[in-house]
Protein backbone atom coordinates (compact mmCIF):
# COMPACT_ATOMS: atom_id res chain seq x y z
CA UNK A 1 0.00 0.00 0.00
CA UNK A 2 1.85 3.06 -1.22
CA UNK A 3 1.25 6.54 -0.02
CA UNK A 4 0.37 7.84 -3.46
CA UNK A 5 -3.33 8.62 -3.35
CA UNK A 6 -3.76 11.02 -6.24
CA UNK A 7 -0.17 11.71 -7.10
CA UNK A 8 1.41 10.61 -10.33
CA UNK A 9 -1.49 11.35 -12.61
CA UNK A 10 0.58 13.17 -15.18
CA UNK A 11 1.76 10.14 -17.09
CA UNK A 12 -1.68 8.55 -16.92
CA UNK A 13 -3.31 11.70 -18.32
CA UNK A 14 -0.93 11.65 -21.26
CA UNK A 15 -1.49 8.00 -22.02
CA UNK A 16 -5.22 8.31 -21.59
CA UNK A 17 -5.31 10.99 -24.26
CA UNK A 18 -3.27 8.86 -26.65
CA UNK A 19 -5.63 5.96 -26.00
CA UNK A 20 -8.60 8.22 -26.66
CA UNK A 21 -7.09 9.42 -29.94
CA UNK A 22 -6.43 5.90 -31.13
CA UNK A 23 -9.70 4.45 -29.95
CA UNK A 24 -12.22 7.10 -30.92
CA UNK A 25 -10.88 9.09 -33.81
CA UNK A 26 -11.09 7.53 -37.25
CA UNK A 27 -9.98 8.93 -40.55
CA UNK A 28 -13.02 11.02 -41.33
CA UNK A 29 -12.12 14.37 -42.86
CA UNK A 30 -13.57 17.59 -41.46
CA UNK A 31 -14.78 18.32 -45.00
CA UNK A 32 -16.91 15.15 -44.95
CA UNK A 33 -18.32 16.09 -41.55
CA UNK A 34 -19.18 19.50 -42.91
CA UNK A 35 -20.97 18.11 -45.93
CA UNK A 36 -22.67 15.10 -44.39
CA UNK A 37 -23.36 16.09 -40.80
CA UNK A 38 -24.38 19.66 -41.41
CA UNK A 39 -26.95 19.84 -38.61
CA UNK A 40 -24.30 18.74 -36.13
CA UNK A 41 -21.95 21.39 -37.49
CA UNK A 42 -24.70 24.01 -37.20
CA UNK A 43 -25.56 23.01 -33.64
CA UNK A 44 -21.93 23.47 -32.61
CA UNK A 45 -21.66 26.89 -34.23
CA UNK A 46 -24.73 28.18 -32.46
CA UNK A 47 -23.82 26.74 -29.06
CA UNK A 48 -20.16 27.59 -29.50
CA UNK A 49 -21.33 31.10 -30.36
CA UNK A 50 -18.90 31.29 -33.25
CA UNK A 51 -19.88 31.06 -36.90
CA UNK A 52 -17.23 28.90 -38.52
CA UNK A 53 -18.23 25.78 -40.42
CA UNK A 54 -14.61 24.88 -40.85
CA UNK A 55 -13.61 24.93 -37.18
CA UNK A 56 -16.94 23.48 -36.14
CA UNK A 57 -16.30 20.36 -38.21
CA UNK A 58 -12.75 20.13 -36.84
CA UNK A 59 -14.22 20.35 -33.32
CA UNK A 60 -16.64 17.50 -34.03
CA UNK A 61 -13.76 15.34 -35.21
CA UNK A 62 -11.60 16.28 -32.22
CA UNK A 63 -14.38 15.42 -29.81
CA UNK A 64 -15.30 12.24 -31.69
CA UNK A 65 -18.90 13.35 -32.12
CA UNK A 66 -19.48 14.43 -28.50
CA UNK A 67 -21.28 17.61 -29.48
CA UNK A 68 -21.24 19.26 -26.05
CA UNK A 69 -17.48 18.89 -26.04
CA UNK A 70 -17.26 20.13 -29.63
CA UNK A 71 -19.06 23.36 -28.71
CA UNK A 72 -16.59 23.77 -25.85
CA UNK A 73 -13.65 23.58 -28.28
CA UNK A 74 -15.22 26.35 -30.34
CA UNK A 75 -15.91 28.58 -27.33
CA UNK A 76 -12.35 28.23 -26.10
CA UNK A 77 -11.05 29.15 -29.52
CA UNK A 78 -13.27 32.22 -29.53
CA UNK A 79 -11.46 33.50 -26.42
CA UNK A 80 -8.18 33.51 -28.29
CA UNK A 81 -9.36 35.64 -31.25
CA UNK A 82 -9.48 39.41 -30.92
CA UNK A 83 -12.87 40.91 -31.53
CA UNK A 84 -12.48 43.36 -34.36
CA UNK A 85 -15.85 45.02 -34.19
CA UNK A 86 -19.54 44.78 -34.72
CA UNK A 87 -21.19 43.80 -37.99
CA UNK A 88 -24.26 45.53 -39.36
CA UNK A 89 -27.48 44.38 -37.78
CA UNK A 90 -29.23 41.47 -39.46
CA UNK A 91 -32.98 41.67 -39.91
CA UNK A 92 -34.37 38.22 -40.65
CA UNK A 93 -37.08 39.81 -42.80
CA UNK A 94 -34.26 40.31 -45.34
CA UNK A 95 -33.18 36.68 -45.26
CA UNK A 96 -32.66 34.88 -48.58
CA UNK A 97 -35.16 32.16 -47.90
CA UNK A 98 -34.56 28.45 -48.32
CA UNK A 99 -37.49 27.28 -46.26
CA UNK A 100 -40.32 29.15 -44.63
CA UNK A 101 -43.54 27.90 -43.08
CA UNK A 102 -46.33 29.39 -41.05
CA UNK A 103 -48.89 27.34 -39.19
CA UNK A 104 -50.92 30.44 -38.34
CA UNK A 105 -52.14 31.19 -41.82
CA UNK A 106 -52.88 28.91 -44.72
CA UNK A 107 -52.24 31.34 -47.49
CA UNK A 108 -49.45 33.76 -46.71
CA UNK A 109 -47.71 36.25 -48.88
CA UNK A 110 -44.73 34.46 -50.39
CA UNK A 111 -46.31 31.09 -49.73
CA UNK A 112 -45.45 28.09 -47.63
CA UNK A 113 -42.07 26.88 -48.77
CA UNK A 114 -41.00 23.50 -47.45
CA UNK A 115 -37.42 23.76 -48.66
CA UNK A 116 -35.07 20.85 -47.95
CA UNK A 117 -36.86 19.02 -45.15
CA UNK A 118 -37.47 15.51 -43.94
CA UNK A 119 -40.39 16.47 -41.69
CA UNK A 120 -42.76 14.32 -43.72
CA UNK A 121 -40.47 11.40 -44.18
CA UNK A 122 -41.73 8.17 -42.69
CA UNK A 123 -38.84 7.25 -40.44
CA UNK A 124 -38.19 3.71 -41.59
CA UNK A 125 -34.52 3.19 -41.09
CA UNK A 126 -34.13 0.31 -43.50
CA UNK A 127 -36.31 1.60 -46.32
CA UNK A 128 -34.44 2.70 -49.41
CA UNK A 129 -35.91 5.66 -51.24
CA UNK A 130 -34.84 7.01 -54.55
CA UNK A 131 -36.81 10.13 -55.20
CA UNK A 132 -35.78 12.11 -58.21
CA UNK A 133 -37.25 15.46 -59.12
CA UNK A 134 -36.62 17.16 -62.43
CA UNK A 135 -35.70 20.61 -61.14
CA UNK A 136 -35.67 22.35 -64.49
CA UNK A 137 -39.50 22.35 -64.57
CA UNK A 138 -39.63 24.91 -61.79
CA UNK A 139 -39.22 28.68 -61.77
CA UNK A 140 -35.97 30.21 -60.61
CA UNK A 141 -37.20 33.33 -58.79
CA UNK A 142 -35.34 34.56 -55.72
CA UNK A 143 -37.34 34.40 -52.53
CA UNK A 144 -37.22 37.28 -50.09
CA UNK A 145 -40.31 37.83 -48.00
CA UNK A 146 -41.04 39.52 -44.73
CA UNK A 147 -42.41 37.70 -41.70
CA UNK A 148 -45.94 36.36 -41.94
CA UNK A 149 -46.69 38.22 -38.71
CA UNK A 150 -45.76 41.59 -40.18
CA UNK A 151 -49.34 42.45 -41.23
CA UNK A 152 -50.64 41.78 -37.68
CA UNK A 153 -47.76 43.78 -36.26
CA UNK A 154 -48.51 46.67 -38.60
CA UNK A 155 -52.13 46.64 -37.44
CA UNK A 156 -50.98 46.96 -33.82
CA UNK A 157 -52.41 43.58 -32.81
CA UNK A 158 -49.17 42.30 -31.35
CA UNK A 159 -47.80 43.12 -27.93
CA UNK A 160 -44.56 45.09 -28.06
CA UNK A 161 -41.84 44.90 -25.47
CA UNK A 162 -39.62 47.73 -24.36
CA UNK A 163 -36.44 48.05 -26.32
CA UNK A 164 -33.03 48.12 -24.63
CA UNK A 165 -31.22 51.36 -25.09
CA UNK A 166 -27.89 49.57 -25.20
CA UNK A 167 -27.26 46.04 -26.42
CA UNK A 168 -26.07 43.87 -23.56
CA UNK A 169 -23.14 41.55 -24.16
CA UNK A 170 -23.13 38.70 -21.66
CA UNK A 171 -19.65 37.61 -22.69
CA UNK A 172 -18.34 40.83 -21.18
CA UNK A 173 -20.84 41.70 -18.46
CA UNK A 174 -23.22 39.08 -17.19
CA UNK A 175 -26.10 41.21 -15.97
CA UNK A 176 -27.98 40.93 -12.73
CA UNK A 177 -31.73 40.71 -12.54
CA UNK A 178 -33.84 42.36 -13.92
CA UNK A 179 -32.15 41.09 -17.04
CA UNK A 180 -32.06 43.31 -20.14
CA UNK A 181 -33.99 41.73 -23.00
CA UNK A 182 -30.95 41.75 -25.28
CA UNK A 183 -29.05 39.67 -22.72
CA UNK A 184 -31.92 37.20 -22.44
CA UNK A 185 -32.05 36.71 -26.20
CA UNK A 186 -28.25 36.41 -26.42
CA UNK A 187 -28.13 33.73 -23.74
CA UNK A 188 -30.84 31.75 -25.51
CA UNK A 189 -29.31 32.17 -28.93
CA UNK A 190 -26.14 30.44 -27.70
CA UNK A 191 -27.97 28.05 -25.39
CA UNK A 192 -27.85 24.28 -25.62
CA UNK A 193 -30.65 22.97 -27.82
CA UNK A 194 -31.61 19.99 -25.68
CA UNK A 195 -31.84 21.99 -22.45
CA UNK A 196 -33.93 24.64 -24.15
CA UNK A 197 -36.22 22.05 -25.66
CA UNK A 198 -36.81 20.45 -22.26
CA UNK A 199 -37.68 23.76 -20.61
CA UNK A 200 -39.89 24.78 -23.55
CA UNK A 201 -41.64 21.43 -23.37
CA UNK A 202 -42.59 21.97 -19.70
CA UNK A 203 -44.68 24.98 -20.70
CA UNK A 204 -46.87 22.84 -22.94
CA UNK A 205 -47.48 20.18 -20.33
CA UNK A 206 -48.99 21.98 -17.38
CA UNK A 207 -45.94 23.75 -15.93
CA UNK A 208 -46.96 26.93 -17.64
CA UNK A 209 -49.47 27.76 -20.26
CA UNK A 210 -47.95 28.25 -23.67
CA UNK A 211 -49.69 26.69 -26.62
CA UNK A 212 -47.84 28.31 -29.41
CA UNK A 213 -48.66 28.76 -33.03
CA UNK A 214 -45.71 29.07 -35.37
CA UNK A 215 -46.25 32.45 -36.99
CA UNK A 216 -43.17 32.36 -39.17
CA UNK A 217 -40.39 29.83 -39.21
CA UNK A 218 -37.60 30.28 -41.71
CA UNK A 219 -34.17 29.08 -42.62
CA UNK A 220 -31.95 30.83 -45.13
CA UNK A 221 -28.96 33.05 -45.66
CA UNK A 222 -28.25 36.45 -44.19
CA UNK A 223 -25.53 38.88 -45.22
CA UNK A 224 -22.82 39.87 -42.77
CA UNK A 225 -21.70 43.42 -43.50
CA UNK A 226 -18.90 45.58 -42.19
CA UNK A 227 -17.27 48.87 -43.14
CA UNK A 228 -14.29 48.96 -45.48
CA UNK A 229 -11.56 50.68 -43.43
CA UNK A 230 -10.13 52.57 -46.41
CA UNK A 231 -13.23 53.56 -48.34
CA UNK A 232 -15.54 53.79 -45.31
CA UNK A 233 -18.29 52.15 -47.34
CA UNK A 234 -20.29 49.06 -46.55
CA UNK A 235 -18.76 45.73 -47.57
CA UNK A 236 -20.27 42.28 -47.60
CA UNK A 237 -18.10 39.95 -45.56
CA UNK A 238 -20.00 36.72 -45.52
CA UNK A 239 -23.26 34.88 -45.87
CA UNK A 240 -24.38 33.01 -42.82
CA UNK A 241 -27.02 30.32 -42.65
CA UNK A 242 -29.48 30.90 -39.88
CA UNK A 243 -32.88 30.02 -38.48
CA UNK A 244 -35.51 32.32 -37.09
CA UNK A 245 -38.92 31.71 -35.59
CA UNK A 246 -41.74 33.94 -34.49
CA UNK A 247 -44.29 32.13 -32.36
CA UNK A 248 -47.67 33.43 -31.24
CA UNK A 249 -48.84 32.79 -27.70
CA UNK A 250 -52.20 33.98 -26.53
CA UNK A 251 -54.11 37.19 -25.95
CA UNK A 252 -53.16 39.40 -23.07
CA UNK A 253 -54.61 42.53 -21.56
CA UNK A 254 -52.11 45.39 -21.80
CA UNK A 255 -51.50 48.18 -19.31
CA UNK A 256 -53.30 50.65 -21.56
CA UNK A 257 -56.41 48.45 -21.52
CA UNK A 258 -56.01 47.08 -25.03
CA UNK A 259 -55.91 43.37 -25.76
CA UNK A 260 -53.03 42.05 -27.80
CA UNK A 261 -51.40 38.86 -28.96
CA UNK A 262 -48.21 37.77 -27.26
CA UNK A 263 -45.33 36.55 -29.40
CA UNK A 264 -41.86 35.18 -28.90
CA UNK A 265 -38.75 35.29 -31.07
CA UNK A 266 -36.07 32.73 -31.70
CA UNK A 267 -32.87 33.03 -33.71
CA UNK A 268 -29.78 30.94 -34.00
CA UNK A 269 -26.75 30.42 -36.21
CA UNK A 270 -27.12 27.54 -38.65
CA UNK A 271 -30.15 25.46 -39.45
CA UNK A 272 -31.73 24.37 -36.19
CA UNK A 273 -35.49 24.66 -36.19
CA UNK A 274 -36.10 22.84 -32.91
CA UNK A 275 -33.83 25.30 -31.11
CA UNK A 276 -35.36 28.39 -32.73
CA UNK A 277 -38.89 27.19 -31.89
CA UNK A 278 -37.85 26.35 -28.32
CA UNK A 279 -36.32 29.80 -27.95
CA UNK A 280 -39.48 31.49 -29.24
CA UNK A 281 -41.61 29.51 -26.78
CA UNK A 282 -39.29 30.33 -23.87
CA UNK A 283 -39.45 33.97 -24.93
CA UNK A 284 -43.26 33.90 -24.67
CA UNK A 285 -43.09 32.05 -21.39
CA UNK A 286 -40.64 34.56 -19.89
CA UNK A 287 -42.24 37.77 -21.06
CA UNK A 288 -45.93 36.91 -21.18
CA UNK A 289 -46.63 34.77 -18.18
CA UNK A 290 -49.28 36.94 -16.54
CA UNK A 291 -52.14 34.76 -17.71
CA UNK A 292 -50.46 31.49 -17.01
CA UNK A 293 -52.85 28.97 -15.47
CA UNK A 294 -50.41 26.08 -15.26
CA UNK A 295 -49.20 24.80 -11.93
CA UNK A 296 -46.05 26.79 -11.27
CA UNK A 297 -44.39 27.56 -14.55
CA UNK A 298 -40.71 26.72 -14.42
CA UNK A 299 -39.97 28.39 -17.73
CA UNK A 300 -41.33 31.79 -16.67
CA UNK A 301 -38.56 32.23 -14.14
CA UNK A 302 -35.72 34.24 -15.67
CA UNK A 303 -33.14 32.89 -13.23
CA UNK A 304 -34.24 29.35 -13.93
CA UNK A 305 -33.85 29.69 -17.69
CA UNK A 306 -30.89 32.03 -17.99
CA UNK A 307 -28.63 30.09 -15.64
CA UNK A 308 -29.41 26.57 -16.82
CA UNK A 309 -29.34 26.41 -20.60
CA UNK A 310 -25.69 26.97 -21.36
CA UNK A 311 -24.31 23.62 -22.49
CA UNK A 312 -20.64 24.47 -22.03
CA UNK A 313 -21.24 25.50 -18.42
CA UNK A 314 -23.67 22.78 -17.39
CA UNK A 315 -21.58 20.08 -19.07
CA UNK A 316 -18.36 21.35 -17.51
CA UNK A 317 -19.79 21.53 -14.04
CA UNK A 318 -21.57 18.19 -14.21
CA UNK A 319 -18.36 16.53 -15.32
CA UNK A 320 -16.25 18.21 -12.66
CA UNK A 321 -17.71 15.76 -10.17
CA UNK A 322 -15.31 13.27 -11.70
CA UNK A 323 -12.46 15.19 -10.09
CA UNK A 324 -11.24 13.96 -6.70
CA UNK A 325 -13.48 15.10 -3.85
CA UNK A 326 -11.69 13.22 -1.06
CA UNK A 327 -11.37 16.20 1.26
CA UNK A 328 -14.97 17.30 1.03
CA UNK A 329 -16.29 13.75 1.26
CA UNK A 330 -14.16 13.12 4.33
CA UNK A 331 -15.62 16.21 5.90
CA UNK A 332 -19.15 15.03 5.08
CA UNK A 333 -18.48 11.64 6.62
CA UNK A 334 -17.42 13.25 9.87
CA UNK A 335 -20.66 15.21 9.95
CA UNK A 336 -22.53 11.94 9.48
CA UNK A 337 -20.64 10.34 12.35
CA UNK A 338 -21.35 13.31 14.62
CA UNK A 339 -25.06 13.16 13.76
CA UNK A 340 -25.16 9.44 14.56
CA UNK A 341 -23.55 10.14 17.89
CA UNK A 342 -26.07 12.90 18.56
CA UNK A 343 -28.81 10.36 17.88
CA UNK A 344 -27.83 8.37 20.96
CA UNK A 345 -24.84 6.55 19.56
CA UNK A 346 -26.69 4.97 16.63
CA UNK A 347 -24.62 2.22 15.03
Amino acid sequence: MGYVAVKGGEEAIKNSLSFYDEEFKGDIKPKDIRESLSFAVDKIMSEGSLYSKKLSSVAIKKSAGDLLNAAFFLRAHRSSCARVGMAKTINTDDMRIIRRVSSAFKDIQGGQILGPSNDYEVKLILKKVANKTIWSEFISDDIFVESALKPLRNKGLIKELKKDREIADITRIFPNSPYPRSAVLQIMSRGEGGSMLAFAYTTMRGYGDVHPTIGDLRIGKCDVKFTHPFTSKEVKIAEIESTSCEAVGTLEKQEDGSTKLTTGYGFCFGFNETKAISMAILDISLYSSSHSIGSGSIASDFDMILHHIDGVESMGFTNHYKLPHYVTFQSNLQVLMNAKEHNGGEK
Binding site: L55, E160, A168
Partner: protein, 142 residues
Protein backbone atom coordinates in the same frame (compact mmCIF):
# COMPACT_ATOMS: atom_id res chain seq x y z
CA UNK B 1 -18.28 46.65 -60.17
CA UNK B 2 -17.29 48.65 -57.14
CA UNK B 3 -14.28 48.19 -54.91
CA UNK B 4 -16.63 47.15 -52.11
CA UNK B 5 -17.79 44.17 -54.18
CA UNK B 6 -14.30 42.69 -54.28
CA UNK B 7 -14.24 41.34 -50.74
CA UNK B 8 -17.18 39.01 -51.08
CA UNK B 9 -17.05 38.26 -54.77
CA UNK B 10 -13.42 37.18 -54.82
CA UNK B 11 -13.95 34.88 -51.83
CA UNK B 12 -16.21 32.92 -54.17
CA UNK B 13 -13.91 33.13 -57.19
CA UNK B 14 -12.17 30.13 -58.67
CA UNK B 15 -9.22 29.74 -56.32
CA UNK B 16 -6.63 28.98 -59.02
CA UNK B 17 -7.58 32.01 -61.09
CA UNK B 18 -7.45 34.16 -57.98
CA UNK B 19 -4.02 32.83 -57.06
CA UNK B 20 -2.76 33.53 -60.58
CA UNK B 21 -4.11 37.06 -60.42
CA UNK B 22 -2.47 37.59 -57.03
CA UNK B 23 0.84 36.37 -58.43
CA UNK B 24 0.65 38.66 -61.44
CA UNK B 25 -0.01 41.66 -59.20
CA UNK B 26 2.81 40.69 -56.90
CA UNK B 27 5.22 40.27 -59.80
CA UNK B 28 4.47 43.71 -61.14
CA UNK B 29 4.13 45.71 -57.92
CA UNK B 30 5.73 45.49 -54.53
CA UNK B 31 3.36 44.01 -51.98
CA UNK B 32 3.98 44.69 -48.34
CA UNK B 33 2.04 42.90 -45.64
CA UNK B 34 1.03 45.40 -42.98
CA UNK B 35 -1.11 43.01 -41.01
CA UNK B 36 -0.63 39.36 -41.81
CA UNK B 37 -3.81 37.28 -42.07
CA UNK B 38 -5.30 37.20 -38.57
CA UNK B 39 -8.31 35.30 -37.27
CA UNK B 40 -10.69 37.73 -35.63
CA UNK B 41 -14.34 37.82 -34.73
CA UNK B 42 -17.19 40.12 -35.62
CA UNK B 43 -19.98 40.50 -33.11
CA UNK B 44 -23.27 39.91 -34.95
CA UNK B 45 -26.35 41.86 -33.83
CA UNK B 46 -29.81 40.62 -34.82
CA UNK B 47 -32.98 42.68 -34.87
CA UNK B 48 -35.58 41.64 -32.31
CA UNK B 49 -38.98 42.09 -34.00
CA UNK B 50 -40.82 42.22 -30.67
CA UNK B 51 -39.04 45.16 -29.06
CA UNK B 52 -37.50 46.67 -32.18
CA UNK B 53 -34.16 46.45 -30.38
CA UNK B 54 -31.17 44.27 -31.14
CA UNK B 55 -29.23 41.43 -29.53
CA UNK B 56 -26.01 39.55 -30.23
CA UNK B 57 -26.45 36.06 -31.59
CA UNK B 58 -22.75 35.28 -31.43
CA UNK B 59 -19.60 36.06 -33.32
CA UNK B 60 -18.63 35.42 -36.91
CA UNK B 61 -15.10 34.15 -37.47
CA UNK B 62 -13.23 36.16 -40.12
CA UNK B 63 -9.65 36.41 -41.32
CA UNK B 64 -8.39 39.93 -41.86
CA UNK B 65 -5.37 41.12 -43.82
CA UNK B 66 -3.98 44.56 -44.58
CA UNK B 67 -1.36 45.07 -47.30
CA UNK B 68 0.05 47.85 -49.37
CA UNK B 69 0.43 47.49 -53.12
CA UNK B 70 3.02 49.52 -55.01
CA UNK B 71 3.10 52.74 -53.07
CA UNK B 72 2.82 52.41 -49.28
CA UNK B 73 -0.17 54.73 -49.46
CA UNK B 74 -2.15 52.22 -51.49
CA UNK B 75 -3.56 50.03 -48.83
CA UNK B 76 -5.57 46.93 -49.47
CA UNK B 77 -7.82 45.14 -47.04
CA UNK B 78 -9.73 41.91 -46.87
CA UNK B 79 -12.00 40.38 -44.28
CA UNK B 80 -12.96 36.94 -45.43
CA UNK B 81 -15.26 34.44 -43.82
CA UNK B 82 -13.88 31.69 -41.60
CA UNK B 83 -10.29 30.66 -40.94
CA UNK B 84 -8.81 31.29 -44.42
CA UNK B 85 -5.38 32.89 -44.32
CA UNK B 86 -4.32 32.47 -47.90
CA UNK B 87 -7.63 33.56 -49.34
CA UNK B 88 -7.57 36.65 -47.14
CA UNK B 89 -4.12 37.58 -48.42
CA UNK B 90 -5.12 37.17 -52.10
CA UNK B 91 -8.26 39.25 -51.69
CA UNK B 92 -6.47 42.02 -49.80
CA UNK B 93 -3.88 42.34 -52.55
CA UNK B 94 -6.61 42.56 -55.21
CA UNK B 95 -8.39 45.18 -53.08
CA UNK B 96 -5.23 47.24 -52.79
CA UNK B 97 -4.43 46.92 -56.48
CA UNK B 98 -7.94 47.90 -57.49
CA UNK B 99 -7.82 50.95 -55.22
CA UNK B 100 -4.53 51.99 -56.77
CA UNK B 101 -5.80 51.46 -60.29
CA UNK B 102 -3.63 48.44 -61.04
CA UNK B 103 -4.99 45.34 -62.81
CA UNK B 104 -8.48 46.83 -62.72
CA UNK B 105 -9.62 45.04 -65.87
CA UNK B 106 -8.28 41.69 -64.75
CA UNK B 107 -9.88 42.01 -61.32
CA UNK B 108 -13.20 43.11 -62.80
CA UNK B 109 -13.14 40.31 -65.27
CA UNK B 110 -12.58 37.72 -62.54
CA UNK B 111 -15.39 39.28 -60.53
CA UNK B 112 -17.78 39.21 -63.48
CA UNK B 113 -16.90 35.63 -64.21
CA UNK B 114 -17.51 34.75 -60.57
CA UNK B 115 -20.79 36.59 -60.54
CA UNK B 116 -21.99 34.61 -63.53
CA UNK B 117 -21.09 31.37 -61.79
CA UNK B 118 -22.84 32.47 -58.61
CA UNK B 119 -25.96 33.42 -60.54
CA UNK B 120 -25.99 30.09 -62.34
CA UNK B 121 -25.70 28.30 -59.03
CA UNK B 122 -28.41 30.45 -57.46
CA UNK B 123 -30.82 29.65 -60.31
CA UNK B 124 -30.28 25.96 -59.70
CA UNK B 125 -30.97 26.35 -55.96
CA UNK B 126 -33.96 28.60 -56.56
CA UNK B 127 -35.60 26.01 -58.80
CA UNK B 128 -35.27 23.47 -56.02
CA UNK B 129 -36.66 25.86 -53.42
CA UNK B 130 -39.57 26.89 -55.62
CA UNK B 131 -40.37 23.25 -56.28
CA UNK B 132 -41.23 22.89 -52.58
CA UNK B 133 -43.80 25.67 -52.50
CA UNK B 134 -47.17 24.39 -51.27
CA UNK B 135 -49.83 25.35 -53.76
CA UNK B 136 -53.27 25.44 -52.18
CA UNK B 137 -54.93 26.56 -55.42
CA UNK B 138 -53.79 23.46 -57.22
CA UNK B 139 -55.25 21.29 -54.51
CA UNK B 140 -58.66 22.91 -54.94
CA UNK B 141 -58.66 22.36 -58.67
CA UNK B 142 -57.97 18.68 -58.51
Amino acid sequence: MKREDINFMLQKADRDSLRDLYKSIKNKHSVEILQSPTAQTLLQPIKDPISGGEFYAGEVLVTTTIVSVGDRQNKGWAMVQDDEEQLSLYVSVCDGAFGAGYFVDEIESLMKQTQLELEKHQIKINRKINSTKVSFDLMQES
